[in-house]
């Protein structure tokens, strides 16, 4: 597995990122490198900073210190400046390099499924309407919703909405896809259809960082698992290694024990 720490070509390079909300430290010097094509799942108890870390990667949240680079480019701040925030236009362009799928879907309710996907293609990627429509239809087909192109989000089930959410993100051809507990708001019987889409994207070589509570998925589909606890990375490695650490990592053991207790 390509996890060498000296590798400077990592697609995503999170280095010593810390963040506090008031007096609460949510991220404590988190470092993580993700190579192109990797699927990294982030697990950990709630409040461990998983979601905050993910939101820092596309600068939906700022951070207090450290650096996050995608393809060598600092995400939220200007390269040389002393943590000088990027301009609005710059920031928007950087964010277009990552795709994000949200726990609560966050589809635009006034636009159809196709319209949701087309918006970024037209406004950000500068595609023509016809071209954007074609791309939208292609991706809706990929997530099995070709027949729902002209449906409004309110007319779709949760699982369908989330698949549109994924299509909206990947249609922009991001370098990295960020998935934030994307199945947590779904009825159990709808989780499978969404995870199947994620799996097929992984097979295509899409680089992904995924915060999840789906342990079986993390075990089977990810190249590496990151276990976070108390705002720090407590363990990181291929699924087998991580699960093997259960005997030595006290926090991991109690997390997995509690997890098993609640999920059988």
């Amino acid at each position: 597995m390509a996890t060498s720490l000296n590798d400077t070509t990592a697609l995503l390079d999170i280095a010593g990122v810390s963040k506090a909300f008031g007096s609460v430290e949510v991220l404590r010097s988190v470092s993580l490198k993700v190579e192109k094509g990797e699927v990294v799942t982030v697990i950990g108890p709630s409040g461990s900073g998983k979601t905050t870390l993910l939101r820092c990667v596309n600068f939906l949240e700022s951070y207090d210190s450290g650096s996050i680079r995608i393809d060598g480019k600092e995400v939220g701040f200007r390269e040389a400046g002393a943590r000088q925030r990027r301009s609005e236009r710059d920031l928007a362009a950087m964010r277009a390099e990552t795709g994000m799928v949200f726990q609560s879907f966050n589809l635009f309710p006034h636009l159809t499924a196709a319209g949701n996907i087309m918006l970024g293609l037209i406004k950000v990627r500068g595609k023509s309407k016809a071209e954007a429509r074609q791309i939208a239809e292609h991706w809706l087909g990929r997530v099995g919703l070709a027949h729902k192109a002209d449906s409004l989000p309110a007319e779709l089930s949760g699982g369908q909405q989330q698949r549109v959410g994924i299509a909206r993100a990947v249609a922009m051809e991001p370098k990295i896809l960020l998935l934030d507990e994307i199945t947590s708001a779904l009825d159990p019987e709808l989780v499978g259809e969404v995870l199947a889409v994620v799996r097929s994207l992984a097979e295509d070589g899409m680089t992904m960082v995924m915060v999840t509570h789906e342990m079986a998925f993390a075990r089977d589909a990810s190249s590496r698992i990151v276990f976070m606890a108390d705002g720090g990375v407590s363990a990181v490695g291929p699924p087998k290694e991580i699960l093997a650490q259960e005997t030595t990592n006290e926090r991991l053991r109690s997390f997995l024990a509690r997890f098993r207790a609640s999920h059988f």
Partner: protein, 216 residues
């Protein structure tokens, strides 16, 4: 009674035009200023938010009539001389702007944060997020109170007659001054105001239906 109304109509036509012109100016100007300040109130930096808050609370706390006399009689003291027409338009616009600010705040504030975040995540700039994601959704919530405010503006424009401007209200009073028959004229005036405002309300309902995409 009919003959009196027919006699009055030509005199009222010009006043009616002034009423429409004042209303249109106030509605358009307050819409532009109110949306800009309202967006500032929701998204702006703290000093701007405070400034808008103070402006809105102050203006809304003053009776419109006081505001109008203040602009007409008070501003010349500050070396700003306005014709009575423009003083009236300015006062009504200030008043209406403060209301539009609140409608915008309520409408934009009701859009869940996730909408902005999803729009950010696909790389839309602030302006694009507003025009493509926030405003289209906020519009539906903004429209009913705003149309209500527009009808208020049409009715409230009658106050300009107090600065000697010959709007519909003033024209009615002038005709009554000649005919000494108040009732037919006031009934006619009420009907004209009602016709305008009913048309506005009707158009609003039609518009709302068009934007009634399902939500929540």
């Amino acid at each position: 009674m009919l003959s009196q109304i027919l006699y009055a109509l030509p005199f009222l036509a010009q006043g009616f035009a002034v009423t429409l012109w004042v209303s249109l100016l106030v509605v358009v100007l307050s819409l532009i200023a109110g949306v800009a300040l309202g967006v500032g109130l929701v998204y702006g930096p703290a000093p701007l938010r405070w400034a808008v808050r103070i402006f809105s609370d102050t203006i809304r706390g003053i009776p419109i009539l006081v505001l109008m006399f203040f602009v007409y009689y008070g501003l010349p003291a500050a070396a700003l001389h306005l014709q009575s027409f423009w003083a009236a338009v300015l006062a009504l616009t200030l008043f209406k702007t403060a209301q539009v600010v609140e409608y915008v705040r309520g409408a934009v504030g009701s859009i869940p944060k996730g909408q902005s975040e999803a729009a950010m995540a696909i790389g839309l700039t602030f302006r694009q997020r507003l025009t493509s994601v926030i405003f289209p959704q906020a519009f539906r919530r903004f429209l009913p109170p705003w149309i209500n405010g527009v009808t208020d503006a049409v009715k409230g424009s009658a106050l300009v007659s107090l600065l000697g401007i010959t709007d519909l209200m003033q024209a009615i009073n002038q005709v009554i001054g000649r005919t000494y028959e108040a009732m037919p004229l006031y009934i006619l005036g009420a009907l004209i105001y009602f016709a305008v405002n009913y048309a506005l309300s009707y158009a609003s309902r039609r518009l709302e239906q068009r934007f009634a995409f399902i939500r929540d």
